[in-house]
Symmetry: C2
Subunit: 502 residues, 2 copies
């Protein structure tokens, strides 16, 4: 027993926390009515890769699983603990973990400094004191850690994905963590780790950001922040990490009322919005306004090459679409240049007539234009050396009318989304200019659930080929603008640094 | 026959166009392969209220329906004609209509000035000349008229709603018209008329806007414009109409590339973006950036009272939600004031503990808080005289986990959306302060179509009670800001005018 604990000790504590060989859950009751039972069920549902030990001083059994009375009863060393006991019992449970040699614990329980009471603050200080003696703590008042590789999951997260990916997400808010993990699942964002650190008694933004900066599994970092503990140190780390990996930050509470809401939510000092904005800008981080903008930026950063995009094509069926695309593109700093006449001519040859136009935007005249025609359009447009990226607008809902006219076929059988995904990925590979897809749904009525189903299938088909999909052109261009301006800034700074060296 | 034609003549031509006793469709082929067949099928599908006469010089039968060789063969007078013959045959068809005494015709055919050719321009001039002799024309190069009351529908519009409502929509672009009509159907926007006027050879923005201004069926006017024919006259009419009814305008082609796309789309002169923006501002119209913003503004204008909203409450389950709400509210000029302590206390009494907070934003601690608790929250908050409007954020997707834990019940059976709709409508009636709902969907995966289904059912339940529903808080507040600032401007102008009188 002791030797196994010592064996574990040789591994890096963060590695033992994120990829634990085993977990102890403190606070699983035989009656199944405690907080810890929820996380136990979630870990079983998501098929956590290691061994789970349930712990409760009362002992007993839950769903055929033995409940240990204490960590000492467990015959092996423990890597990671989940503490879900009432607030006043948390310090004793954490101390028990520390004595057992546990590398880290996430404390899901609430009832600490966020209450704004003296008792709450004192309990949190006890956690801090125990942690300082040699155990890392995530929380309290948090939803914990989600790590798809090992199968750790957030508090109400039984149905999260086990697929890993490049995005690491940090959040003071538990709600934001679980929401972001859920959005990521269908939007196509793969996670290395999601960490909800709540009140952040020990581990919090600065150290976790530095960890993500060095973590080889994490290539894109996203954060939801309400306040900051050590501002100067945080911004130093942020500047360093953001110079190596994109760091996308959603700072909540930039408004006056928002800052008041922050105080009653995670007990952080919000700070002035103006100062935050300017400091974040200087740090080289990517600033986003909400969860959706953050998710779309993460998707773009994880699926697109690290480049500056300036000139794009937009192709789809329907003229007003093109007009609107141009207006939005300009707003986000992109240009939709008119293609050379010989390129336009080569494209328009493959498009339906009348009604098509290939000056850029490329108007394919109707929403049923074939993947083959678009292939020719994109391959030809890519020959224009100015073009950096191409956008395909897919109005799949129109296929419903087509499906009806073919004797009420299922719309999924009529829309050639698989061929479109194939085409987009082939064109991207052949031209080294990414094709990005926008698939809005204008028919969201109760009778048209089959269109939503089609769009979701199609999104999955594009994502399986590494093609990012957005549901709105404006949001797509906003995300692309984040990628582009991040790498433009990095390029400019690299240039500055090079100049300084001489 | 002649007497019947004269009988029709006594009615107002616009009334005969929008509510025709009968229609002639020029261009229905016995083989069913002509353009006119599509609109014939659509009119039958939507159950047009009057009689339809199919016309083709070749005669014959289609689906058991007689095809008349000419209008003269039809034994009664005709109110309205739909012309769907090849461009070069359009002038003759239109002249035939005029001689028959038809009040107006929509010309769906393309191949006129939008081609940019001399031949196209000449054909369009012929249409204009015939029209000047006594027949109103919508089009050419358009998708026609949708009028739910009479059952006229747009080109690919067999599945539009027959429910009428206060919104009149004008558009040069056919695609925008059909898209907007589809969005309106599920978003809860009822239409008086939707008019796609394409190249606008006769009827176009100025006259149609003036018509909507006087039309008692139209209370809210929305327009998608690419260019304008008679700028000075249009802005005079716009200023007048906008002082009486909200006019929401989406001007396409404000950017440089957009303006180029406009030229190849509807052959309009786009004009400088800066000039347009400033002229629209001076006119008192509501300017929106795209179709979604226009739809959400129409929803808000049609379901909310004509008022200025300044102070709001936001209630929902989850703290970071409240923080984000405050930030967004400030951005759109709303205030989320802290409620009086006695009001907060009265509210928090009904909310789950711990974790709830009722300072405003009202954090209901978890997403399963009952409609009864929210009723108390909203009724109490409404006692604060500053509060103008209340927002309920409903995270219905959370009910999936609840449904699963109840032995995999259908999520629609578990989420009490009907009671929430009841509550929202009762609170609105009792307090005269509207309750508005935001229902985002964070679980859009292929496996979670039941959540989308639930949200659509819930939206319909709220709409049936007259409660507007938005899918995103930012979009909701943007729409509310349009309503609020429109009525604030009208109030300010009314005041100015009153001062001028003395």
């Amino acid at each position: 027993m002791k030797s196994e604990a010592r064996e574990s000790d040789r591994r890096d504590p963060f590695d033992r926390i994120f990829h634990p060989a085993n977990i102890a859950i403190m606070g699983v009751s035989a009656k199944g009515n405690m907080f810890g039972t929820g996380i136990l069920n979630a870990l079983e549902a998501i098929k956590f890769s290691g061994t789970i030990y349930a712990v409760n001083p009362k002992g007993g059994e839950f769903n055929g699983r033995r409940i240990y009375r204490s960590l000492d009863e467990i015959p092996v060393g423990i890597d990671f603990a989940i503490i879900a006991v009432p607030a006043e019992k948390v310090p004793a449970a954490l101390e028990e973990c520390r004595r057992k040699g546990v590398a880290g614990a996430e404390i899901l329980s609430a009832g600490f400094s966020e209450l704004g009471t003296e008792a709450g603050r004192r309990l949190e200080q006890e956690i801090r004191d125990i942690s300082a003696k040699g155990i890392r703590v995530v929380g309290p008042n948090c939803f914990g850690i989600y790590c798809p590789r090992s199968g750790l999951t957030l508090l109400p997260g039984p149905d999260l994905s086990r697929e890993t990916g490049p995005v690491g997400f940090l959040s003071q808010s538990g709600g934001m963590s679980i929401d972001f993990a859920h959005i990521g699942k269908w939007m196509g964002i793969g996670f290395s780790k999601v960490i909800s650190f709540g009140n952040g008694a020990d581990l919090r933004e600065t150290e976790l950001l530095a960890y993500f900066g060095d973590d080889p599994e994490t290539e894109v970092i996203a954060m939801y922040m309400e306040g900051v503990d050590q501002g100067r140190e945080f911004f130093k780390v942020l500047k360093d990490v953001a110079s190596r990996k994109p760091v996308i930050i959603n700072k909540g509470g930039l408004s006056e009322a928002g800052s008041r809401a922050v105080a009653s939510h995670t007990a952080s000092m919000g700070g002035s919005g103006t100062i935050w904005k300017s400091v974040l800008r200087q740090s080289g981080a990517v600033q986003v306004g909400d969860l959706w903008e953050m998710a779309e930026a993460c998707l773009a950063f994880s699926l697109l090459p690290p480049r500056v995009f300036e000139n794009i094509t937009v192709a789809g069926g329907g003229g007003a679409l093109g007009v609107s695309a141009c207006d939005i593109a300009e707003q986000f700093g992109f240009s939709i240049p008119m293609l050379e006449p010989h390129i336009s001519e080569a494209i328009v040859e493959h498009l339906p007539k009348p009604g098509s136009s290939a000056k850029n935007p490329i108007d394919a005249a109707n929403p049923f234009t074939s993947p083959q025609a678009y292939r020719q359009a994109f391959l030809n447009a890519a020959k224009d050396p100015r073009i950096d990226l191409q956008i395909l607008i897919q109005l799949l809902y129109h296929y419903k009318v087509l499906a009806m006219s073919f004797g009420n076929l299922p719309v999924k059988d009529v829309a050639p989304y698989g061929e479109f995904a194939e085409m987009a990925s082939e064109v991207t590979a052949a031209t080294d200019k990414p094709v990005v897809v926008v698939m809005p749904n204008l028919k969201q009525g109760r009778e048209a659930l089959d269109i939503e189903d089609l769009i979701r299938e199609a999104r999955a088909a594009f994502l399986a080929k590494g093609i990012p999909v957005f549901s709105d052109l404006g949001n797509c261009l906003r995300a692309l603008a984040h990628v582009s301006s991040y790498y433009a800034r990095r390029k400019a700074r690299g240039h500055e640094d090079a100049c300084r060296t001489y």
